[in-house]
Symmetry: C2
Subunit: 257 residues, 2 copies
């Protein structure tokens, strides 16, 4: 009986742009890429590229303009605080060719938050400056908002704040078919299973098969990750893979996700 071809997957893509000299100097380890990649994946949005760039206006403008044309969604983190090196909002405005000024709702929220007008300093007011035409992204932690400009979402760099901003806006995203995965773990090293794995990949060209070596309790352990949008196909491929490894004399088990 001929197999019924599956409908082509609806693919929605994203790019993450991490803005900050502190990541490039090695001073700070980025924590936003893995969080956003994991969460976007759950929503059916595939991260196809990430960039880490410095706090340099020309670089931010060029990068944002390149990637917003190339991908469905862009997420930037970093550079929207109150200090002189926080130039992301101005750079996004420049990238879109629009002006930037204080957003009344952002001013109102921050003014309420700080209470005493003396605490709502000019530097803090800078954080209420939003590119014209952008909509706010709520910041449940420290109030100063992020924003959405076209398909570009701009978040703070501090991971807890970036995460809370993402949670507050994720309903705006329209994802494609979610990418599902199954993982088979084996004790056979990559160099032994590679050929069989390559053959399996050829037969299942709608699935992306990745091989990730590691160690468990001092012994080689390879995680074989099958990713795709059709779970029946993933299940069939995983079963075949386990059988093949058993035939080669290896151990194989599918991990419960």
């Amino acid at each position: 009986m001929p197999e019924v071809p599956a409908a082509p997957a609806k693919i929605v893509t994203a790019c993450i742009v991490v803005i900050g000299n502190e990541i490039l100097s090695g001073r700070t380890k980025d924590a936003n890429i893995s969080f956003l990649a994991t969460e976007l994946n759950k929503l059916g949005v595939r991260v196809m590229e990430c960039r880490v760039i410095p706090d340099i206006e020309a670089t931010i403008v060029a990068t944002v303009n390149e990637v917003r044309a190339k991908f469905d969604y862009v997420f930037t983190t970093g550079g929207i605080g109150p200090t002189h090196d926080d130039i992301t909002a101005d750079s996004i405005a420049k990238a879109f060719g629009v002006g930037i000024s204080e957003h009344p709702e952002a001013v109102a929220r921050m003014s309420r938050h700080y209470g005493d007008p003396a605490l709502f300093t000019p530097a803090r007011r800078r954080m209420a400056r939003i590119p014209h035409g952008a909509t706010l992204v709520d910041n449940p932690i420290s109030v100063a908002p992020g924003f959405q400009m076209g398909n570009v979402f701009t978040f703070a760099g501090i991971p807890t704040i970036a995460q809370s901003m993402f949670e507050s806006m994720k309903h705006r995203l329209v994802g494609g078919d979610p990418v599902l995965s199954r993982t088979v773990r084996t004790n056979l090293p990559e160099g032994i299973i590679a050929e069989a794995l390559g053959a399996l990949q050829k037969r299942y060209d709608d699935i992306d098969i990745g091989s990730y070596p590691g160690f468990r309790a001092g012994k080689v352990s390879v995680s074989l990750v099958l990713r795709g949008t059709n779970d029946a196909r993933l299940a069939a491929a995983a079963t075949e893979l386990i059988q093949t490894i058993h035939q080669m004399g290896g151990e194989a088990e599918e991990l419960v996700q």
Copy 2:
């Protein structure tokens, strides 16, 4: 007395290209960027950009060709193992427009390492394929080498191996003036010190002043990082900064690096 202008700093730049679907899916947290950024910085090589890209040949070729023209050095990690999804070596060959075949010295090393010819499988032999004209980068851990092609260095993705490859080749790098840093920690929040900080940045335009908020023992703590190539200038700026913060009623101390 007029200040003697310092000689312009010799700047050497780099880009890190992380190749791997597992980072983009969020499955694996990258650990190579912060290691390489920190180590390169010590050698006077400034990381100006990082990219995380998928295991797709066209993307690897385009990215490598763009960044090798733009930066003094390029470091790639990932995709040089024995499985079908390891396509970095072939992609680098394509980017440079050269062929690729087994490198006799790589074959000899791996053949010695595996001993039994039955263990030196065709898949493992793939790891001895090196773009024509490249020189080997030693792999003290698992033998299969990385390589240098022009200004592009290609390392394995597994952090311990990437790190050992970097250690074995770093004497080949010619750095510029090392970037030195001094850090002042204060209890004043960014929104309070931002204006004074911006004014200091204007007076010290040869120094890059970054402001990184955080928490220590539940209280606001901001690290102000001064970076530049001239330590006398950094010391002067740090002293001025500490005085300014004291005048504002805040606490400030320079951290011992």
